[in-house]
Structure formats: structure tokens, C-alpha cells
């Protein structure tokens, strides 16, 4: 039986891991390669890097980080953030990333999903969707949640699947950084409408939130940042609580 995946996410700015609360205030944490290797050793099933560097130099640094990670980390890892074109995808995949996550660039140019899937295979293409609740449902938002695209998040997830996305990384902008648990209704709404794996993201503040999202929805993976980075809980503790609750996980 396939195991539910637990994925630490590292937000990287100019070569350093940071984590924002509600995507605004940033605190510095540490060396991305060392952190990824430590997580991999302690049982993380995958690693996600989100590059939030705004500068060209920051992006170039990310490529070095990817190269180093490929040498030191023996679980799959995804790079997102600065991936805006087929060239960016090629660069990151050649540097050693297993998958790339595309977000606003896919919203601006949906054909990018198709092109990426055709060139590298669906398994390499993760479409990241930032969703926020509005009166008429969930909208896709971009620019760290500041811009409402007006696009229905469920419809967009279906389109991403139809265009060849291999997975969807679904972040609730309402729950992100608040640590009160994953947005179960959003997660359920998307999981029920698509037939590719979904990674739930945003809102995790404790191991119970992870067991909850696996018990209440059919999501394939749960992503978290601050509970691991702050050393509030370790990956082992999260996996233990999953096992106690009967959630099938990989024993490291």
C-alpha cells in the first residue's frame, strides 16, 4: 500500500531558508542544503524548495543549492518559486531537481503546463495553486495572495490536470501561517474533483493537523514548514502520531 507523504517545505531567499507568516514577515533560518539533508535523514518523504528571491543573483544561488541538494539528499525534491518558463524548468531539472512547481507563470500562460509535461513528463510538473475563499467559492490568487485572479480554484485544478500536471500543491491562503490546521473544506473540494495526487499546504501547527488532513480528506501528501523549522515537532513525532491514528506512512 502506498504511504501518505510528509513534506517539509523550505522557503529560500537569496540562499537562506526563511519562513513567512501570512507570506509577509520573514525570519531567517539557515542553510537550505544542510536542512534538506537533515530532514531527509530524519524521515521526510520529499523536500520542497520555494525560491522567493526577487533578484537574478538570488535565482542563480538557487541553482547551486539544487545542485548541492542532488548530491546530499536521497529523497525526491521539488523546486518552485522562480520557475517561469520552459528554460527555467530545464535549468532546475538539469541541476538535479526531480520536479518543478509552477504557480503564477502557469496562471498567466496555462500552455506552460502542457509544454512542461510534454517535454519532461507529467511526473516532473507540479502545479502550485494558492487559493483564497471568496463569497462565490475559492479563487486562485497570485503575488503572495495580494492579487485575486478571479479564477475558480476547482476549475483551475481540473484544467491543470487536463493539461498534464502530475501533482497539485494546494495552499490555502486563508490558513497559511495561522497554524490552526489545514483548510479541510478547500482540500476536500479539490481532491474530489481531480484524479492526480494533491499535496495539502497551509495551516499546519501540530502533528494532529497532519493526521486530521489525512483522515478527513483523500489527499496524498501534507506539506508543512514552521512546525519542523521551529523544532516544535520532528518528522519522527509526526509520523508516530500518524501511525497511532492508523494513517499509513513510511517508516524511516
Amino acid at each position: 500500500m502506498i504511504a501518505k507523504r510528509i513534506i517539509p517545505c523550505l522557503d529560500v531567499k537569496d540562499g537562506t531558508v526563511v519562513k513567512g507568516t501570512n507570506f509577509v514577515s520573514l525570519r531567517e533560518l539557515g542553510d537550505p542544503v544542510a536542512m534538506a539533508a537533515a530532514y531527509s535523514k530524519s524521515g521526510a518523504d520529499e523536500i520542497v524548495f520555494l525560491d522567493i528571491s526577487a533578484t537574478h543573483e538570488g535565482r542563480a544561488t538557487m541553482m547551486d543549492i539544487v545542485r548541492q541538494t542532488a548530491l546530499h539528499v536521497f529523497v525526491p525534491f521539488t523546486v518552485g518559486g522562480g520557475v517561469r518558463s520552459l528554460d527555467d524548468m530545464t535549468t532546475m531539472l538539469q541541476a538535479g531537481a526531480d520536479k518543478v512547481a509552477i504557480n503564477s507563470a502557469a496562471v498567466a500562460e496555462p500552455a506552460l503546463i502542457t509544454k512542461g509535461a510534454e517535454k519532461f513528463g507529467s511526473q516532473c510538473i507540479v502545479v502550485a495553486i494558492d487559493a483564497k475563499r471568496f463569497e462565490d467559492g475559492w479563487h486562485v490568487v497570485t503575488h503572495g495572495g495580494r492579487k485575486d485572479t478571479g479564477i475558480d480554484a476547482i476549475e483551475w485544478a481540473k484544467e491543470a490536470e487536463a493539461r498534464g500536471a502530475g501533482e497539485i500543491l494546494l495552499t490555502s491562503m486563508d490558513a497559511d501561517g495561522v497554524k490552526t490546521g489545514y483548510d479541510l473544506s478547500l482540500t476536500k473540494a479539490i481532491v474530489d474533483e481531480v484524479r492526480i495526487p494533491i499535496i495539502a499546504s497551509g495551516g499546519c501547527g501540530s502533528p494532529e493537523h497532519i493526521t486530521e488532513v489525512f483522515q478527513e480528506t483523500d489527499v496524498s501528501a501534507a506539506l508543512a514548514a514552521s512546525i519542523f523549522h521551529d523544532k516544535t515537532f520532528s518528522i519522527e513525532e509526526v509520523k508516530q502520531s500518524c501511525q497511532q491514528e492508523g494513517v499509513r506512512i513510511r517508516e524511516a
Binding site: L71, F74, G121, E251
Partner: protein, 207 residues
Amino acid sequence: MIAIVDYGVGNVASVANACKQLRYETILTDKKEEFEQATHIILPGVGSFRAAMEEIERRNLRGLLLELAAQKPFIGICVGMQLLFEKGFEHGETEGLGLIPGTVDKIETTHLLPHIGWNSLEVSDSFPTYKKHDGKHVYFVHSYQANTPEEYIVASTEYGTQIPAIVQNGTICGIQFHPEKSEKVGQFLLQSVFESSQQAFSKEESI
């Protein structure tokens, strides 16, 4: 030394690195003289069966690969494993290397595709040297699977259907998952595959 077949299939650094962790030296090559120095050949692969096979044909490597497969332990990983079979049906019918009987077809399951994530191994009783890996989780990512007679299936995994995870035909081995992305478990498995194919090879030589 282990020779990894260079036919332009993306990143093989992590495969080389996993070998290095096991203290094997590696070389990435498409040259006959360099293959001849190697103890084992690894055929990597990503993308589709058809694209990978076309690249092998385009570089005129088919003959050389078949020659090497007769001379040394030969290990296919992921799409490289799929290419060991007779035919693949991803993006149309394509002829494979035909080193293990069987075909590669779309996975028929009610579960989500691609099959992405850590799934557990069920090791066949016919392959006792692999028994220590029974129940271990390894990382899969694929939508197509091998369909081959049971005698070649070393280990399988359950995903709404049984999927061959490790296959072996004497000195020819195939690994459907990514040992290089499966942490320590993956490295131990790679070690078993190197040893098992080597043993099969020594046995053949002594006959």
C-alpha cells in the same frame, strides 16, 4: 567500476551518487572501450518509453547494449527497466531491448495516476537473497508498468493492482522505482541488485 549509459536522458547525478555512497566508482559513457572496463552496466531513463528508445536508436546504441547485456550484469532503472522488455505502449507501440519477456503497458488501477510516492515491496519467495527488503518502502513515480511472467518478478508493489518493482532474468535486472531517491533502503537494494546480478554472472561463467 559501474558504467552508466549516457544517452542524454536528463540527470543521472543522483544515480551516480547513490553508487558512490556504496563505494562504487561510476563513469557516464557511451563508449565501448569504457564499458569494457566496468563490472556492471546501468541503463537509466526518464520520460517516455518511446522517447528513450528513440534516443538509443538515434545514437546507434541498441547493438552495443545487447552485446554488453550478454557480457556483464546489466541493470535498468525506471524507464531504463521498462526498456529491458520486448515492447512498450507509451505514445504508441515501440520495440524495446527484449532482454526480459513481457510488455510495458499503462497501469490499470482505480487509484490515482501517476503512481507517485513511497510504496512497500512484496518480495517473492523465489528470490531469498532479496527477502531482507520485504515490506520496505521505496519511491515510485510512473504511469506504465511491466507485464511479465511471474518467474521474472523479484518483488512487486500493490497499487490497486500488482506492479513489478524489481525484475530479474539471470544477469539482467530491472528496478521500476528510484533507488537513488529511496534513502538508505534504496542504497541497500541497489547493493543487493549489484550482488545478485554479479552472482548470476559468475554462475553463468563457471558453466
